[in-house]
Each structure stands twice: as C-alpha cells, then as structure tokens.
C-alpha cells in the first residue's frame, strides 16, 4: 500500500506542511520571500544562492516535505524517485537567459533553462539517485501523477518518491509536493488522486491560494 506521508505547499507568501502553516511573510517580492523561507528554517546550503527561482521554489518545497518525516537511513540512494510537473517548464529563466543573449549569453542562466534541473538540485541535496521524470500539463493532474508514480512504486523501481507540482512564472508561483512511501506514518493517507484533490483544496491552504 502506497501512502502519502507528508505534504508541503509553498505559495502566496506562505509555507504549509500537512495542513499547518509553518511560515508566512507578507513581503510581496518573490526573491525576498524565497530567501526568507530559506533563512527562517536555518538551512545551511550555499548552492541555494546560485539557483534560479524555479529551482529555489522546488528545493524549498522538497526540504519542507522531507522535514521531520523522511528517514534517510531507511533508504538506499537508488530507492528515492523525484517526479515533478508544471505548466510553463523553465520559461521564467528562459526569458532571462534570452535577454542575456543580446549582450553576452550567460552559461549560468542557460543551465537552468530545463525544468528537470530542479530535480537535479533536489537529488544533489539529498543524494537521491533513483528514478526521475519531469512532465508538463496545463494544470496539476493528480490522476496522472498517481498513475505514473504507482507504476514506479508497484514494480519496485523506487521505494519512496517526492512528486507533485512546482510552477513559477514571473511573480506567480505554486509548489505542492507529496512524499510517497510504502509505510504508514502518523499523518499518512492512501496515495490516491482523490486524497490529493482533498489535500490541495483543504481550507488552511485554500484561504490563501491565489485566484485561478
């Protein structure tokens, strides 16, 4: 039985885990907000500062979904998969990179013009060497993510998976990550698209969601 053992949300100037708000910052700027989340939790990871906005958002949401629940010692590096999705790929950085081309093309921006770089950043941080996939859809499609990740879990291609949605374009952003494991935890629920739908529309977060 595959269970969701943790759920993180980063959007609209707040951070939420398992339905509880962990941090909020009314500062309207995205750059400042992402930095304030990093500083609030006291992580020490200099690589964070060179990441683009999308990777920072995904990295923070992954830190939060793993926090206090993921037992590293239970897994080999090959056991953990990362399967992410969004609507606009790396378009936020694509625009910044292409603006640099008129002057001198920036290799440090170009490397972030692929959405799966965010998966690489999460894998480097956690020494995750398992399955990867990045999918694009017009909006978060829990049904597909559950079907694909269940394929991986049920065939032992992975033993745990971070999956979900990390979208960012300009100042609009939304991250919803789920930790899926083969054990049941204190807060765990069955890994189904109905449960994901329920979790992403839970009231704590819903009140603060940006309008569609």
């Amino acid at each position: 039985m595959n269970s969701i053992t943790s759920h993180s949300v980063v959007c609209n100037n707040f951070v939420c885990k398992d339905g509880k708000i962990l941090f909020e910052n009314k500062d309207p700027g995205l750059t400042g907000f992402l930095l304030s989340v990093y500083q609030h939790f006291g992580w020490q990871y200099p690589k964070f500062f060179k990441m683009d906005h999308l990777s920072k958002l995904g990295w923070l949401a992954a830190e939060i979904v793993l926090k206090d629940v993921f037992r590293t010692e239970d897994y080999l590096p090959w056991d953990t998969a990362v399967v992410l999705s969004n609507a606009n790929s790396s378009l936020d950085t694509d625009r910044k990179y292409f603006a640099s081309v008129k002057d001198i093309p920036s290799p440090s921006l170009f490397v972030y013009t692929l959405p799966n770089i965010m998966i690489g950043e999460i894998c480097i941080r956690n020494n995750f060497k398992g399955e990867n996939a990045f999918f694009l859809s017009d909006s978060f499609d829990p049904g597909f993510i559950v079907r694909y990740v269940s394929c991986l879990m049920d065939t032992d291609a992975c033993q745990a998976c971070i999956c979900g949605w990390v979208e960012l374009l300009g100042e609009k952003y939304m991250a919803q990550l789920f930790l899926v494991e083969k054990r049941e935890g204190e807060m765990s629920v069955a890994f189904t698209s109905e449960n994901i739908d329920r979790m992403i529309s839970a009231r704590t977060c819903q009140n603060k969601m940006p309008e569609k």
Binding site: P77, W78, V82, A87, N88, S89, L91, D94, R95, Y97, F98, V101, I104, P105, S106, P107, F110, V111, T113, L114, P115, N116, I117, I119, G120, E121, C123, I124, N126, N127, F128, K129, G130, E131, N132, A133, F134, F135, L136, S137, D138, D141, F144, R147, Y148, S150, C151, L152, D154, T155, A157, L169
Partner: protein, 377 residues
C-alpha cells in the same frame, strides 16, 4: 507484466522522411551535419544538421498557425500511423510528446505578452497535435533534458505494462534556434567542425533538428518483431551540468534494465550510446560500459550523422537500433577514428553484419539524469 511491442515508427530528419530512408542514408555513410552561416541563428558560422528552408517533407498541407515544431511532430506521426492500424479515438490509446525546448524560438520575436507565453508552453503544442489526430486522451508531455526521448518510450512502456493503455503513440522533436545554439556556445560545448564521438580528438557537440515517432502496443498482432523489454532512469546527484566522474549511476540503470528484461550482460549484442562527443560525457559512458562488463560489445553513436537532436535524440537513436535489429546491421560511428576514452570499449567504426537479438540504448543529460532501455527480438 504484459509485453510491449513496437508497432510502427518514423524518423523525419534532414536525411529523409521515413525510417527506411534515414537508415539507408546512414548505411551509405551520409551525414546531415554541415557548415552553416545563418545570422538568424548565430553570428559565427557553425556545424549542425538542419532542415533546408524549403523543406518539402510534409505530405499534407497543415494550417499555417502550426509552428515548425508542431508541423514536424504531425508529419512524423502521420507517417508512423499510416501502417499501424492504431485507433487514436480509442480510450485505450495514449499520446506522449517529448521535447526539450519546443517553441522556445518564439521568444526571439522580442515580445513578452501572455498569449505568446501560452503559445510557447509545450502542453499547448501537445494539445494542438492531439486535436489534429482526434486523440481522446489528454497528451502526456515529457521534458527531461537529453534523456527525454528514452524516458518518453519508458513512460509508454510503463503505462502499457500497468494496463492503463493498450497502445501509446510517442512523438518527439526539437529544432535548432538561436536560443539553444547560443546556450551551448556559452558552455564552450559546440565543436568547431564535425563532432567526433569517443575519439581522442573529440571537442564538443553538433546540434541537429529532427522528429521521430514510435508506436507501442500490448497487442502482439500489431507488433513488428521488436519488443521494449525493460528500462530505468537514475540521477547522478553530483552536478547539474557535468556528468558523473565514475559512470556508476549510468551503470546502475544498465544493470536494472538488464534485470527487468531478464537478461545478463552476455546477452547484449549491441549498445546505442548517447556519445555526444564532449570529453566528459563519452568518458563517463565508457566507464559505465566497462562497469557493466560490456567492453567487447559493439557500441555506436549517431551524433556524427544527426548532431544532437535533444528531445528527439533518444527516439531517433532507438528507432535506428530497431531498424538495425531488423537488418542485423550495426552502423559505424561517424567521426570516430582513434579511441579516446580510458576504458577499452568496442566502438564500431565500419558497417558490421551481426545477429542482433538484444540491444541496449543509453542516454544522459543536464540535471545529472541517465536512462537505459533494452530492445529485444
């Protein structure tokens, strides 16, 4: 687990608009890579495999609002669907699109309006393609750097094996634009001449344009003699733009793929490598081949014929492998002369007739991703 059969396929590249045309050009030793001087793409001349401006590959005229990227996908799918007997309007038929950058060249228009941003989104292109062929199911879009094509085939395999689909159409394409070429130039990753995979003088990649389609089915009656027997994906967890120094993570997916296919290293007759002709990629791949005990197995890279076609590469190279299996003929590695990797692997440098029962495809890309896949007769 249900078997996954290859029902049909197509490649559209500067070398031809069917798989058979492409394969015969490759067997004749013809490359699509040549010197271009096109100021719209680069201030300096560059080597790449590009479609001519007047590319007459489309068998039907398509609406002008379809971009070159979408027209390529549609043209490739049309040919692959011709002799497949697959019904796109069936609930049990899925569609997967693979690309790294799709319509990103639209950014070159310089405007920044929301409609243009929507037009660039890959899921938008996928919807256009799905509507064109009347697919019922919503398309799945894979965009995972240079392993996109192999990952798209593995995704199709997994969705068929788990019973979610009976047939899956997998199409991929990428085009060469100023955006992509300037980026690889900024990385000093572009070869000043023809690329030389695995060679001691190798000095970087050539880019290429292309589209390809592969149709998979759980129905043996649709099959054409080759199965997708297994595959796996991993991450190096080491660096976002440089490959693993050890090859351990690619080796790991090669091992998992063999296990899933119920094979051992001794069963592999041929390896279609990623072989981008950068110093580090080819060295890493050679190490993984060594770790897998596959040193004596013939290996090739097709980058010298096609350049690196990014999101189409894994599809094109897998389809050429399938054609090689049908003809029991391994193609030489264009551009390779003298071995330049630390492992003594068997780089194929001339046409080689050999019975091919089980073949391995590998790919690696930015973000530290690796993929391996087994094709069997």
């Amino acid at each position: 687990m249900s078997a996954v059969f290859v029902a049909s396929h197509n490649i559209i590249s500067p070398l031809g608009s069917t798989t058979a045309e492409n394969f015969s050009r490759l067997a004749e030793g013809i490359s699509g890579v040549r010197r271009h001087d096109d100021k719209k793409i680069s201030d300096q001349p560059f080597f790449a495999s590009l479609f001519d401006d007047a590319w007459g590959l489309l068998k039907e005229s398509l609406p002008v609002q379809y971009t070159k990227f979408e027209q390529l996908l549609i043209a490739s799918m049309s040919d692959a669907l011709l002799d497949s007997r697959i019904d796109m309007r069936d609930r049990r038929t899925g569609l997967i699109i693979s690309s790294t950058k799709g319509n990103v060249s639209l950014l070159e228009s310089g405007t920044d309006d929301p409609d243009l941003m929507e037009r660039i989104a890959l899921h938008h292109s996928a919807s256009i393609v799905a509507r064109h062929f009347n697919f019922i199911n919503k398309p799945i879009v894979v965009s995972n750097a240079c392993i996109s094509g192999v990952l798209a085939i593995l995704t199709g395999m997994r969705l068929i094996r788990s019973g979610q689909y009976e047939n899956v159409v997998i199409a991929g394409a990428d085009i060469v634009s100023k955006f992509v070429l300037s980026g690889f130039q900024s990385f000093q990753a572009i070869s000043p001449g023809l690329c030389k995979p695995f060679d001691e003088q190798r000095d970087g990649i050539n880019l290429g344009e292309g589209a390809a389609t592969i149709i998979l089915s759980s129905q043996k009656k649709y099959g054409s003699g080759v199965r997708i027997a297994g595959g796996a994906v991993s991450n190096d967890a080491n660096h976002i733009s440089g490959p693993s120094r050890t090859g351990q993570e690619l080796f790991q997916v090669m091992t998992r793929s063999l296990r899933e296919a119920g094979l051992t290293a001794g069963d592999i007759d041929f390896i279609s490598a990623h072989g981008t002709a950068t110093v580090y990629n080819d060295e890493m791949e050679a190490k993984a081949i060594g770790l897998s005990d596959l040193r004596s197995v013939p290996v090739n890279s097709l980058k010298g014929y096609y350049g690196h076609t990014l999101g189409a590469a894994g599809l094109i190279e897998s389809i050429i492998t399938i054609q090689s299996m049908k003809e029991d003929l391994i193609l030489p590695t264009m551009g390779f002369e003298r071995p330049g990797v630390s492992e003594p692997i068997n780089i194929c440098s001339s046409l080689l007739q050999a019975p091919l029962m089980n073949c391995l495809k590998t790919a690696s890309g930015f973000g530290g991703c690796n993929a391996a896949m087994i094709m069997s007769k």
